[in-house]
Symmetry: C2
Subunit: 276 residues, 2 copies
């Protein structure tokens, strides 16, 4: 399926090598690589192997986490993001997804300032490497320690404050933004401003039993995934639909079966996406 991408974290128990075998067997065309999956590997070799497996590297996850209690802490974060840009360049990832960060006890206003400062600091390196950056607004339940950017409106504001450089855009993840009454308008704006850099899908289960690792497979929850996808496509977006699922439940089972389910549920949701 031409627009189906899967994140390596989705099948966390599999090695990257196994992903490169198992993803294409289910019609997966793209792969988003989480940095932990790269540990100890030769990045140029990964780029070659991924290409040979018939997979396109869609993005690298994840940069960000800028907010820090000290100038030195912010610099450490900037350095780590510069390293991520090198890694993305080496594996052929055109995009890095930014989970922007937050610090319990520091005001969200201050954290957002540091986020903008951090992105500005790494932007020249990203531009030089030909790597785009995508601010991913995170669900407000992560405002304490994961991201002070919790709506698309805020992500747009940061892009604008940076002078709207082409390299900086937004990653729309239905899990984080489905509840937002402004969602359609903000997606439209992302299309108009060329900021719609990535689109992630999964589902919201009722009840959700873990704030981090109880995401659902598409169809297991209440998110209007198809409607949001239509809004995204209506902007002219033709990029991947990236399946990003953190789930202790799915991770504890057989990953090949899980990949079968992902493929089936994707095909049911997007019958128009032809096989490669």
């Amino acid at each position: 399926m031409r627009r189906l991408c899967v994140h390596t974290i989705t099948t966390k128990p599999l090695s990257l090598e196994e992903c490169l075998v198992e993803f294409p067997r289910r019609g997966v065309s793209g792969i988003t690589i989480w940095r932990q999956a790269l540990e100890g590997l030769d990045l140029r070799a990964v780029a070659r192997q991924t290409h040979d497996a018939g997979l396109e590297v869609v993005s690298l996850c994840r940069g960000g986490f800028f907010p820090a209690a000290s100038v030195a802490g912010l610099q450490t974060a900037i350095d780590d993001n510069l390293k991520a840009i090198e890694q993305a360049h080496a594996v052929g990832a055109p995009l890095i997804v930014l989970v922007c960060g937050a610090l319990p006890g520091q005001t969200l206003v201050e954290s957002r300032k540091q986020i903008a400062e951090g992105i500005a600091a790494v932007l020249p390196a990203a531009e030089q490497a030909g790597v785009k950056l995508a601010i991913e607004p995170l669900h407000p339940m992560y405002a304490d320690d994961r991201s002070a950017v919790n709506t698309m409106r805020q992500a747009h504001e940061i892009c604008a404050a940076l002078g709207s450089p082409k390299a900086v855009g937004i990653a729309v993840d239905v899990y984080h933004v489905w509840w937002d009454p402004e969602l359609k308008a903000q997606i439209d704006l992302a299309g108009q401003t060329g900021r719609l850099h990535a689109f992630h899908i999964c589902d919201w289960r009722t009840p959700t039993t873990d704030l981090l690792n109880d995401r659902g497979l598409m169809g297991e929850g209440c998110i209007n995934i198809k409607e949001i996808s239509d809004w995204v496509d209506a902007t002219g977006f033709t990029g991947y639909r990236e399946v990003e699922i953190f789930s202790n439940r799915w991770w504890s089972g057989d990953q090949k079966t899980f990949l079968d389910k992902i493929s089936e549920s994707y095909a049911a949701l997007y019958p128009q996406d032809p096989s490669k």
Copy 2:
């Protein structure tokens, strides 16, 4: 402490009778009564006993939960809210807090329509009983099955759509709205429009291990409670600060000790609030 109110749910293991003894001993001046605490009780007697205990009934929790899959379902919800209005009137509660409701699989747009419809249907009875209604925007992590109203902006929109009747306002709970970048502006607007009906406090713990019942005592988390309180007071609000904590952790311990902690933490946060 003149503006300290505690919700009966905060000390869930205590009976209402026990609350009426233990709350005043810690300088608590107000009580918000959850409907389950009233089961089997004579409501007029409760009103009398509460008054005799030196406690003011601040509000009744909770009405709402309007969204339904059928017309009959919505009518059942309306009937239950009419009953809540009778109960509020009987116990002398001037306000009912509305947890508006949501239905997994039904669009949030449809749910919001039903919420407005439900409030409109019970409004005349509320006005006649002299009972106000407060829409409580719930944290977006409850958008699946608890409330399709997740920001103060949306609550304002519903008030406006109803023609801004004086009886309908907003309950601001720091747990639900602290992350909102518009919070100060929306609180200001609530003040200007006479919609600021209630103010609830607790804290957001890092990590939060349960979506429902892991709230923190003030000071245990990252919410800028004092700053938000100042915004609320700056509108001219002189009502209660209502301590509403759902916590398996606190509920499993001694409730008298917990009440001591609530009293201490409140006094530390608001040293200006004099003892009665």
